[in-house]
């Protein structure tokens, strides 16, 4: 990724060469494609570009968008997200019930679901084993907190799992859905293979693991016994291509079929102008913020934070810097969440108002502000534009770009006065808000602001079982947050995926992963 920055200038030059051979009709921006199972010639291969290598086949271990893209091909959860609507739908569960007090969940599993490579039928024991594995400190799973609401897990017969919670949690089903801690592993496979399991993952998913060539690709083969029906495509290859210009050419040459997680605005525009290529885009659940440490002077004064919010020209950032590939957001959530609201205090670009607020706070002469960000494109680029806006109202900005791991450690130590934080989120709004603006997320978490003004509302929302009331509580929380402005929401991300026109049905998640179940490819 770091190289991406250095290659930007060159990208423009290469772009000239590529644009010279580009056809004119623009491709339409549309949704994520269809998912109906279609017919496909035998021996078909779908090659999907990923930007970083898969680092682990164990979904309970640290995850990247590439690891998640691998996991959702190979494993299933009790529930899955419908990737068009990001709503929860049953997968390994046939039916379930929740007790009156909201503390007991009973899940009846589908019968006859088989693990890959003859590791037998999925049973309640596998589900219990998987969740307990996440909760076991020895696993050191970063997703342990997602299941911490669980007080006990018991099985009743072969196909029934009963989970008791320590307190009602209206968001609990999100924790059992689609990815990471939610995915079910084969108890027998792990016990039999021990350490070797890590390189021979076994799930119930639509694809079986076939080979991993580190630094190059992961090869998956269609699971003939998949309980939702065999995938039309025989083989999926997740191909590592870090450099976007190389991936662009590989797509045009049809060395790859799908260019997943495309970031560069220049390449997006070039590919949109190509015939034979379609660029799909969808709103993502990633939002990006300038987080201000509310405990240091003068950032502890809400007038100063509001002044900074008014000083930043976010419309220009999205329109000019990102060339319209991002969207504006009024709160820490993105417009994609149903809990999102624009009925919050707004801070339109208004340098005069910013100066007035600073004067009101006794800072008419400006103040010194240390802006900290990470050496990772584009987070080491757009802060320059933001810093210029802040300088224009008299704030003297010192911009520090830190190496990735050093930045992570400094932010976790909570010693920095500001941070650029762009968390990749689950469709559960609680995960994001709790991490970013709840006291649960105080350093070593990512609440660099050390803001706790919405704790009560967020706790109440988590307990509330009435969906309408819960949504209202989250909206109240957003109003409170944007009144206090512990952070400045800069933009919400969009996920871009390019494919040649022979590919249909590849789906991407708003939480940044790619699924190919049901997809077809024609060369």
């Amino acid at each position: 990724m770091a190289f991406g920055t250095r290659l930007k200038g060159l990208g423009a030059l290469v772009g000239l060469v590529l644009a010279a051979t580009a056809a004119q009709p623009p491709a339409a921006l549309d949704g994520a494609g269809g998912a109906a199972l279609a017919q496909q010639a035998p021996g078909s291969v779908l090659r999907i570009r990923i930007g970083s290598d898969v680092t682990s086949f164990d979904p309970h271990r640290p995850s990247t968008i590439e690891n998640t893209s691998f996991s959702v091909h190979v494993y299933d959860g009790l529930f899955g997200y419908n990737l068009r609507t990001m709503t929860i739908e049953p997968r390994l569960v046939r039916e379930y019930s929740v007790s009156e007090d909201g503390l007991t969940y009973t899940f009846h599993l589908r019968e006859g679901v088989q693990f890959h490579r003859n590791f037998g039928e999925l049973t309640a024991e596998d589900v219990k084993f998987s969740y307990e594995r996440v909760l076991n400190p020895a696993t050191a799973s970063p997703w342990r907190a997602d299941l911490r609401a669980i007080a006990s897990i018991t099985t009743e017969g072969k196909y029934t799992v009963v989970i008791r919670l320590s307190a009602p949690n209206a968001n609990f089903l999100h924790a059992l859905t689609s990815r990471n801690q939610a995915l079910i592993l084969s108890k027998r496979a792990i016990e039999q293979m021990g350490n070797d399991w890590a390189l021979n993952p076994v799930g119930t998913g639509a694809y079986m693991f076939e080979a991993w060539r580190p630094g190059e690709r992961v090869v998956l083969r269609a699971n003939p016994n998949y309980f939702r029906g065999r995938s039309p495509i025989d083989r999926v290859e997740l191909m590592l291509i870090p450099e976007e210009t190389s991936a662009e050419i590989a797509l045009l040459n049809r060395e790859i079929d799908v260019f997943f997680a495309l970031q560069s605005p220049e390449i997006i525009q070039r590919l949109q102008a190509r015939s034979g290529v379609t660029v799909d885009s969808r709103p993502a659940l990633i939002s990006c913020h300038l987080v201000l440490n509310n405990t240091v002077r003068p950032l502890n004064d809400v007038r100063v934070r509001r002044a900074m919010a008014h000083a930043v020209n976010r419309e220009s950032l999205v329109r000019d810097f990102f060339r319209g590939t991002k969207v504006l957001t009024a709160t820490p959530l993105t417009p994609e969440y149903q809990e999102y609201t624009t009925e919050v205090p707004q801070y339109p670009y208004d340098p005069a108002r910013a100066r007035a607020l600073l004067a009101e706070a006794g800072l008419a002469g400006g103040f010194d502000f240390h802006y900290v960000t990470v050496a990772l494109a584009p987070y080491d680029q757009f802060p320059v534009a933001v810093a210029e806006d802040l300088k224009a109202v008299g704030i003297r900005v010192r911009l520090t770009v830190m190496e990735r791991a050093a930045y992570g450690a400094a932010r976790a130590a909570g010693t920095i006065p500001s941070a650029t934080t762009c968390p990749s989120n689950s469709p559960n709004p609680d995960t994001l808000l709790r991490a970013l603006v709840h006291s649960d997320g105080f350093p070593p978490g990512v609440n660099t602001a050390r803001y706790n003004g919405a704790d009560e509302l967020l706790n109440a929302a988590q307990r509330e079982r009435d969906p309408a009331k819960r949504v209202d509580l989250y909206r109240q929380a957003q109003r409170q947050i944007m009144t206090d402005v512990p952070l400045i929401p800069l933009y919400a991300d969009r996920l871009f995926t390019a494919r040649h026109n022979g590919v249909e049905g590849v789906l991407t998640s708003a939480a940044f992963w790619v699924e190919s179940y049901g997809a077809t490819v024609r060369r």
Partner: protein, 311 residues
């Protein structure tokens, strides 16, 4: 000769040990917590602490170093903190493509650099000399990733001669060689330039020597004179080949990124970003051993081209 070889061989051990010791302490002096780099900042403090214990990072530095040295002697460099695979196995899986790439690029650099340097020296001051020197200066001046992308656009996109990405199909040597052509040429650009320029200056110096003039006056054929000249110019060129190999391995990181090839360079970068100490140590150990070994082979070749060393 044997004594010379033995003295060079013995030097390899302290050199490698020194390098891995420096690497061990330098890595730990870097800011950044491996547990946070690996688990991410959303991880709970409990999960972070559990991982620190699991990786032995809660132990004093000298205990960690003791474990590292013990492992080194036993040939066990631990497991990658991220993939949980034996670190050495991961490194060895990417070593062949790295060595192949570096080896091929050095070979191309020699095969292209020597004749370019010789022709330039023989035609000193002519347009051929100027042209070749401008071309070689470009090889040094332009960044490897820039040349790489231009080559991809030209030879993989415009003229579809080679694949743009990947290292070929496993088990299919032909496709691997096909996929190797562009990256090897790109990686060779800098080395070719260095060798060409060095050959040129070494040849110019030798061609001016009295014994060369005498040889010419005696009517010895130019081809034969050139051969004598080249033999005498070889010792400094051999030295630069060793450096070229080390630079090729280093620059390979960029070539690997542009051409999406697996390799030691990318692995070391990946391990650095995630503070995966075990993987990083194994990678640096293998990298230093390969550079030292190549230089050792070149050291052993010196006596063959320079009789003074034999004595």
């Amino acid at each position: 000769m044997l004594r010379y070889a033995a003295s060079r061989l013995i030097l390899v051990i302290p050199t490698v040990l020194g390098m891995v010791t420096i690497a061990f302490f330098t890595l730990r002096a870097l800011p950044g917590d491996p547990a946070i780099a690996i688990l991410g900042e959303f991880a709970t403090e409990q999960a972070l602490q559990d991982l620190r214990v699991a990786l032995g990072l809660d132990q004093p530095l000298w205990v960690q170093f003791g474990r590292f040295v013990r492992g080194l002697v036993a040939g066990d460099l631990g497991r990658s903190a991220i993939t949980r695979q034996p670190a050495m196995r991961e490194v060895m899986s990417v070593l062949p493509p790295s060595l192949m790439l570096a080896g091929c690029s050095v070979l191309i650099a020699i095969l292209a650099g020597l004749p370019i340097g010789m022709v330039s020296a023989l035609r000193q001051g002519s347009w051929v000399d100027y042209l070749l020197m401008v071309v070689t200066i470009s090889g040094i001046s332009f960044p490897v990733f820039w040349i790489g992308l231009i080559m991809i656009v030209l030879f993989a996109h415009t003229i579809k001669l080679f694949p743009a990405v990947g290292a070929g199909s496993p088990g299919d040597l032909l496709s691997q060689a096909h996929a190797m052509v562009l990256p090897a040429i790109v990686l060779a650009a800098g080395g070719t330039a260095y060798i060409a320029r060095l050959t040129r200056s070494a040849m110019l110096e030798i061609l001016r020597q009295d014994y060369m003039l005498v040889a010419k006056a005696m009517g010895i054929r130019e081809r034969r004179i050139l051969w004598y000249g080249l033999r005498n110019a070889l010792p400094p060129i051999l030295g630069v080949i060793g450096v070229t190999f080390a630079v090729a391995i280093g620059n390979a990181i960029l070539v690997e990124v542009v051409f999406s090839r697996p390799g030691l360079g990318s692995l070391i970068i990946k391990a650095t970003f995630s503070r995966d100490y075990q993987l990083l140590q194994a990678g640096l150990l293998v990298l230093s051993i390969s550079v030292v070994l190549v230089n050792l082979v070149l050291d052993l070749l010196y006596p063959l081209v320079d009789p003074r060393v034999r004595r």
